[in-house]
């Protein structure tokens, strides 16, 4: 059964970064709203949670806590697209992702009573998803992660960049590769991140959660989120630079 109200808690955040940098808008998504209309969800038009949504969500959670199977299915319909994407990006394997998502919703059903509303319900679900994904990675012997150092910027003793001049390859990336190829390049680099760093990048740059929400979902501090996000982005940047024949430094 498809609920009529929006997944307001897991829309993209208002990216201040876009105002500053002129980034292209995050992927536009038209999502169903509480009254059935659609609204564009991107950087500057993130909808705020409405009272009606909060009431409906609260009622749904209460039904879940009472063991209502239909409430579980409604929650599944609302949240599974986002959570599946997150799990798949972290795990990279469809079979693992399916199992992880099964675990997430079964855990949500069984442990609903432990959700006390200290965070948004969506954040709680993200946390279950990250835990399920990381648990599978720990069990798996597959490990694609590499040492970051080679792909991070390096500096001289006086603070200058080590390899100068630093080349702006951002336009060359678009000129030399099709969009699909660029995404493939980045996906390969993402797979080489440490699982916790990959989780931060996925929740931040792919899902658009704010630092505070990511911190709650990963049970780490906001400061740790920022540190990991920045280092991961530097690594991804270095991977792209090297791929284009330039120095990561």
């Amino acid at each position: 059964m498809q609920s009529s109200f929006a997944v307001a808690g897991i829309n993209r955040r208002d990216h201040t970064i876009m105002k500053e940098s002129g980034y292209p808008a995050a992927t536009k998504q038209a999502e169903p709203t509480i009254n059935g209309s659609e609204r564009v969800v991107n950087g500057s038009t993130r909808p705020s949670r409405t009272r009606k949504f909060d009431k409906e969500e609260a009622a749904l959670i209460e039904r879940l806590k009472a063991g209502d199977q239909q409430a579980l299915e409604t929650i599944f319909d609302l949240y599974s697209p986002k959570l599946y994407n997150v799990a798949h990006r972290i795990l990279g394997e469809a079979a693992d992702t399916e199992e992880a998502i099964q675990d997430v919703f079964l855990t949500a059903y069984r442990k609903a009573k432990t959700f006390r509303g200290d965070s948004q319900f969506s954040t709680w679900l993200y946390r279950l998803t990250i835990n399920a994904a990381l648990r599978r990675i720990r069990r798996s012997k597959k490990n694609k992660q590499v040492e970051y150092e080679e792909f991070l910027p390096k500096f001289q003793e006086d603070g200058h960049h080590l390899d100068r001049p630093v080349v702006d390859w951002s336009n060359a990336l678009d000129e030399n590769y099709a969009k699909r190829e660029i995404q493939q390049l980045l996906n390969e680099a993402l797979e080489q991140l440490k699982p916790i760093d990959k989780s931060v990048v996925v929740l931040s740059d792919l899902e658009g959660l704010c630092d505070k929400e990511i911190a709650a979902a990963l049970a780490i501090t906001v400061s740790a989120v920022k540190t990991r996000l920045h280092r991961a982005r530097l690594f991804l940047r270095g991977k792209l630079a090297v791929r284009l024949g330039h120095s990561a430094a």
């Binding site: 500096f155 001049p165 630093v166 920022k226 920045h230 940047r237």
Partner: protein
């Protein structure tokens, strides 16, 4: 550290390394006005940092444009069937 150009009166007191450390907060508009001013001042005289910032932003924009992985209908049905079965067994279904 950015080099002072001849006749330039304003010096930046940020090194390129410090600039790199500040990029995340700069892009999120979280720098204090004084540090932001310093950051922007450095950019005016350091093409290396301008180019580094451009490629950092490009990396983020590429990340943000990655297509969402959609849940295949067969997988969706598998999971729903799994959940129905497991929650029925628990005896708490409505």
């Amino acid at each position: 550290m950015a080099e002072r150009k001849k006749g330039q009166k304003i010096l930046t007191n940020k090194t390129c390394k410090q600039m790199t450390d500040l990029i995340l907060d700069y892009l999120n508009d979280k720098l204090s006005p004084a540090v932001k001013r310093d950051f922007q001042q450095h950019l005016k005289i350091c093409p290396d940092c301008v180019n580094f910032l451009s490629t950092y932003k490009k990396t983020v924009s590429v990340s943000r444009s990655i297509r969402s992985e959609e849940i295949p209908p067969r997988v969706r049905n598998n999971i729903l069937n799994f959940l129905r079965l497991r929650t029925r067994k628990s005896g708490t279904s409505s």
